[in-house]
C-alpha cells in the first residue's frame, strides 16, 4: 500500500516538474521544426530543420548582440564586485564620520522605486552624450546597494585580527580588500557575482530606452524588438529560435553551476 502511495506521490511530483520543463522543451523543438508544423506540434516534428535559425541570423545581428550583452554584463559584474567590496569594507571595518549616515542612505535608496528615477536618468544620459554607447548601459549599474549591504554583512563576520595582521605586514587598504578579504569571501563573491550577472544579462527596459543603434543592442533587447516588430514577418519559428538563443547562455551556465545559482538566491532571502 505504501509503495503505491509512494509511486503516485512521485508521479504527481514528476507531473509538476514537467509543467516547468516541458514548455522549454517545446520551444527548442519548435525552433528546429518546419514552420508549418509548429501549429500542431506536441512531442516531435516529422523532420528537423535549422532554417529558422538560418533566417534569424540573416535578419538580425544576434551574434553582435550576444557580444554586447557579454561585455555589458561582465563589466557591470566586475564593477559591482569591486566597488561593492570597497564600500562594504569601508562601512564594515573602518571608522569615520558619516559612516552610519551613508549606510542609512544606502538602505533608503533600496526602497526607492525606479519609476521615479527612470526619466531623469535617461535625460542625464542624453546630456552626457552617452546615448547609444556602452557607458549608458554600464555606468548607472556599477554601484549596487544590495551588493554593498551584502559585502558589509559578510565582511563583518571576518575577524579583525586578520586585517590588523595584514596592516602590520605593511599592506595598504586596497591590498587588504583584494588580497585578504576576497579570498576569504568567496561565497559572497560568487553569490553577488551570479545575481548581478544574471540581472544585468536579462535587463531589457533600460537598453530599450538608451540604445537605438542596432549594433549596440543587448541580446534581450534585440530579441524583444524582433518579436514585437515586423521583421520576423509572423514567422513563429524564427521568433522561437531567437528566444532559444537568448535563453541558451544562461541555461548553460545554470546547468554547470546550478548549486551556486540556487544558493545565491536563497542567501539573498536570508539577508533581507
Amino acid at each position: 500500500m505504501k509503495k503505491i502511495k509512494s509511486i503516485l506521490f512521485y508521479l504527481a511530483l514528476t507531473v509538476c516538474a514537467v509543467i516547468f520543463v516541458y514548455p522549454f522543451y517545446w520551444m527548442v523543438i519548435a525552433s528546429i521544426a518546419p514552420e508549418n508544423e509548429i501549429g500542431s506540434l506536441t512531442i516531435m516534428p516529422t523532420s528537423l530543420t535549422l532554417s529558422s535559425y538560418a533566417q534569424m541570423v540573416d535578419k538580425i545581428p544576434i551574434g553582435g548582440a550576444f557580444i554586447n550583452s557579454l561585455i555589458v554584463a561582465s563589466s557591470i559584474t566586475i564593477g559591482v564586485l569591486i566597488f561593492g567590496s570597497m564600500i562594504g569594507y569601508a562601512l564594515s571595518k573602518l571608522v569615520f564620520k558619516g559612516r552610519d549616515l551613508i549606510f542609512y542612505i544606502i538602505i533608503f535608496t533600496m526602497t526607492l522605486p525606479f519609476q521615479i528615477t527612470l526619466i531623469p536618468q535617461y535625460i542625464i544620459m542624453v546630456k552626457f552624450g552617452w546615448i547609444d554607447t556602452y557607458w549608458a548601459l554600464i555606468v548607472p549599474y556599477l554601484i549596487n546597494a544590495l551588493s554593498i549591504i551584502m559585502f558589509r554583512q559578510y565582511f563583518k563576520s571576518i575577524p579583525d585580527s586578520l586585517i590588523d595582521a595584514a596592516r602590520l605586514d605593511g599592506c595598504n587598504e586596497l591590498q587588504i580588500i583584494f588580497k585578504i578579504l576576497w579570498p576569504n569571501s568567496m561565497p559572497a563573491i560568487i553569490t553577488i557575482g551570479i545575481i548581478t550577472f544574471m540581472a544585468s544579462w536579462n535587463e531589457v527596459l533600460w537598453p530599450l530606452i538608451v540604445i537605438r543603434d542596432e549594433s549596440l543592442m543587448t541580446m534581450p533587447q534585440l530579441v524583444t524588438l524582433f518579436a514585437v516588430g515586423g521583421r520576423a514577418e509572423s514567422q513563429l519559428g524564427v521568433k522561437l529560435a531567437s528566444a532559444v538563443m537568448l535563453a541558451l547562455p544562461i541555461v548553460l551556465a545554470y546547468v554547470f553551476f546550478q548549486k551556486y545559482f540556487i544558493q545565491s538566491m536563497a542567501s539573498t532571502g536570508i539577508k533581507e
Binding site: 552626457f128 546615448i131 547609444d132 595598504n172 591590498q175 542596432e214 524588438l225 509572423s234
Partner: protein
C-alpha cells in the same frame, strides 16, 4: 603613496567620458551629407543623381548615405537630432513628423531660400502647399513622394459575383461581401472574406483602414486643426459604422490571417486597401490567369464629389546643422525637377508629388508602360497627407484605441467612440 595616485587615476578615468565628446571637424562649406532611405531602389536613385550633381558641381560635393539600421528611421532621426549628428539633407521624413521638428527649430525654413517659392509653385498645387505649411506660417518640408492607398480588387471574382465593377459605395461593398462570404472547407467557420485589414491597435495601422476611408468620405477633411480635434463629425462616424459592420458580419476576418501566403493572390480575400507597392509584388507572384485592378476607396452611399485618400507622404528636409542651406537646396532641386521625378518613377515606382503628373506629357512614356501606376497618378490629385501637428502619433493612437473598442470588439457605439477619441485628443492640447 602610489596607491593613492592610482585611486585618483581611477576616479579620473570615470570622469573622462564626461568631457564633451563630439567636436566635429569644421568641414569646408562645400561638403554635404544626404541621408536617403535604405530601400535598395532609392539608394540607386540617390547614387545616380548624386554622381551627376558632383560631376557638374565640383565645388559643392554631396555624399549620400542610407539611413543607419535601427529600430525605425524615425528613431534614428530623433537620435541624430538629440545627439546633434543630423545630416544636411534627409529625404524620407514622414510628413507627420515634421511639425515637431519644426517647432524644435532644427529644420531650415525653406521659404527663406532663394528660388524656393517659385519652384514650389511650379511643382505643387496650392492645396498641397497649404497642407505642408507649418503652424507658424513657414514651410519646412518639400513634398517628395506619395503612395496613395486605394482598393485593389480581383477582377474575375467581381465579375463572378455579377458586379459591373468594383464596389464604390458602402452598400455595394456589403452586398458584394455577403455574396462572397463562404465556408469552403465545411468546418463551420468562414474562410473566405471579401476584404482584410490587420486587426492591430498600432497607431500606423489606421493609415490602411480608418484614415483613407475618412478622407474619402469627407472630401479630404482634417483630423486636427491647430490645437483642436475636428473629426467628431458624420464622416468619421460613418467610417466607424462601415468598418464595424464589416467585422460584425465577418466580411472582414477578425483573426489574423496567415502571413506566409498572400491571401489576396490566393483568393482567400477579394479586395484589400493597399498602395502602388503591391503592383510589383502581385505581378511577380500572381498565379496564371489572375487579373487585378485598382479603384478608389469606398464611400458612403450619399457621397458627392471627388474621392480623396491618404498618400503616406515622404518629404525632404534640410537640417539647421547644414552650413550651406542654399547649396543644399540647389542639390535637392535636382532630385525633384522633372528629370529627377521621372527617374524616381523609373527607379523606384513611387509617385512624385507633382501636380498634373497624370497629364504632363513628360511622364506619359512611363505611364504608358505602367498603366496600373497611371491609376495612382490620376488619384494623386485627390491625395491628403497629414495635418500639421506635433502630436500626430498620439492622435492616431487615441483613435486606434477607440477603433479597437468600437470596430473590433463592438463595445461602444461609433458616435460614442468618435466623441471619446475627440475628447482625448483635445486633452492632449491642454495648455
Amino acid at each position: 603613496m602610489s596607491r593613492f595616485f592610482i585611486n585618483i587615476a581611477l576616479l579620473i578615468l570615470i570622469w573622462l567620458p564626461l568631457q564633451s565628446c563630439n567636436s566635429n571637424n569644421k568641414s569646408s562649406d562645400t561638403k554635404l551629407i544626404y541621408w536617403c532611405s535604405n530601400n535598395s531602389y532609392e539608394i540607386q536613385f540617390a547614387k545616380q543623381l548624386t554622381e551627376k550633381w558632383n560631376k557638374n558641381n565640383p565645388n559643392v560635393s554631396v555624399k549620400y548615405q542610407p539611413v543607419p539600421e535601427g529600430r525605425s528611421s524615425e528613431e534614428i532621426i530623433l537620435a541624430a537630432v538629440v545627439g546633434k549628428t543630423t545630416p544636411d539633407i534627409y529625404s524620407n521624413m514622414w510628413q507627420g513628423d515634421v511639425e515637431a521638428y519644426a517647432q524644435a527649430k532644427v529644420l531650415v525654413a525653406l521659404d527663406t531660400l532663394k528660388g524656393f517659392i517659385d519652384f514650389l509653385n511650379e511643382r505643387c498645387d496650392s492645396e498641397v502647399i497649404e497642407e505642408i505649411r507649418s503652424l507658424d506660417g513657414h514651410i519646412y518640408q518639400i513634398p517628395w513622394k506619395i503612395n496613395p492607398i486605394m482598393l485593389i480588387y480581383n477582377e474575375k471574382i467581381m465579375s463572378d459575383l455579377g458586379s459591373s465593377g468594383p464596389p464604390q459605395t458602402y452598400s455595394d461593398f456589403f452586398a458584394a461581401s455577403a455574396k462572397f462570404q463562404k465556408d469552403v472547407n465545411g468546418d463551420g467557420y468562414i474562410d473566405r472574406w471579401f476584404g482584410y485589414s490587420e486587426v492591430l491597435v498600432t497607431w500606423w495601422q489606421r493609415f490602411f483602414d480608418f484614415y483613407p476611408l475618412y478622407l474619402a468620405a469627407s472630401g479630404g477633411a482634417p483630423l486636427v486643426k491647430g490645437d483642436k480635434a475636428v473629426f467628431n463629425n458624420e464622416y468619421a462616424i460613418d467610417v466607424f459604422k462601415f468598418l464595424r459592420m464589416l467585422y460584425k458580419k465577418n466580411y472582414f476576418s477578425r483573426e489574423q490571417l496567415s502571413a506566409r501566403q498572400d491571401v489576396f493572390l490566393a483568393e482567400v480575400i477579394a479586395t484589400r486597401f493597399t498602395g502602388p507597392w503591391e503592383i510589383a509584388h502581385a505581378d511577380k507572384f500572381k498565379p496564371k490567369g489572375f487579373e487585378y485592378n485598382f479603384s478608389s476607396m469606398p464611400v458612403p452611399d450619399d457621397h458627392k464629389g471627388p474621392i480623396y485618400t491618404y498618400g503616406d507622404p515622404k518629404n525632404i528636409v534640410i537640417f539647421k546643422t547644414c552650413k550651406n542651406p542654399q547649396a543644399a537646396w540647389e542639390y535637392v532641386k535636382t532630385l525633384i525637377d522633372r528629370n529627377g521625378d521621372l527617374k524616381l518613377l523609373e527607379f523606384t515606382n513611387q509617385l512624385p508629388r507633382r501636380k498634373n503628373i497624370n497629364t504632363d506629357v513628360f511622364f506619359s512614356g512611363y505611364f504608358n508602360k505602367n498603366p496600373k501606376m497611371k491609376i495612382f497618378a490620376d488619384q494623386s490629385k485627390y491625395v491628403r497627407g497629414t495635418d500639421a501637428s506635433p502630436v500626430l502619433k498620439e492622435v492616431f493612437d487615441l483613435i486606434s484605441q477607440e477603433y479597437e473598442a468600437c470596430v473590433i470588439y463592438g463595445t461602444k457605439s461609433p458616435e460614442q467612440a468618435i466623441k471619446d477619441a475627440s475628447d482625448a485628443v483635445n486633452l492632449l492640447f491642454l495648455k
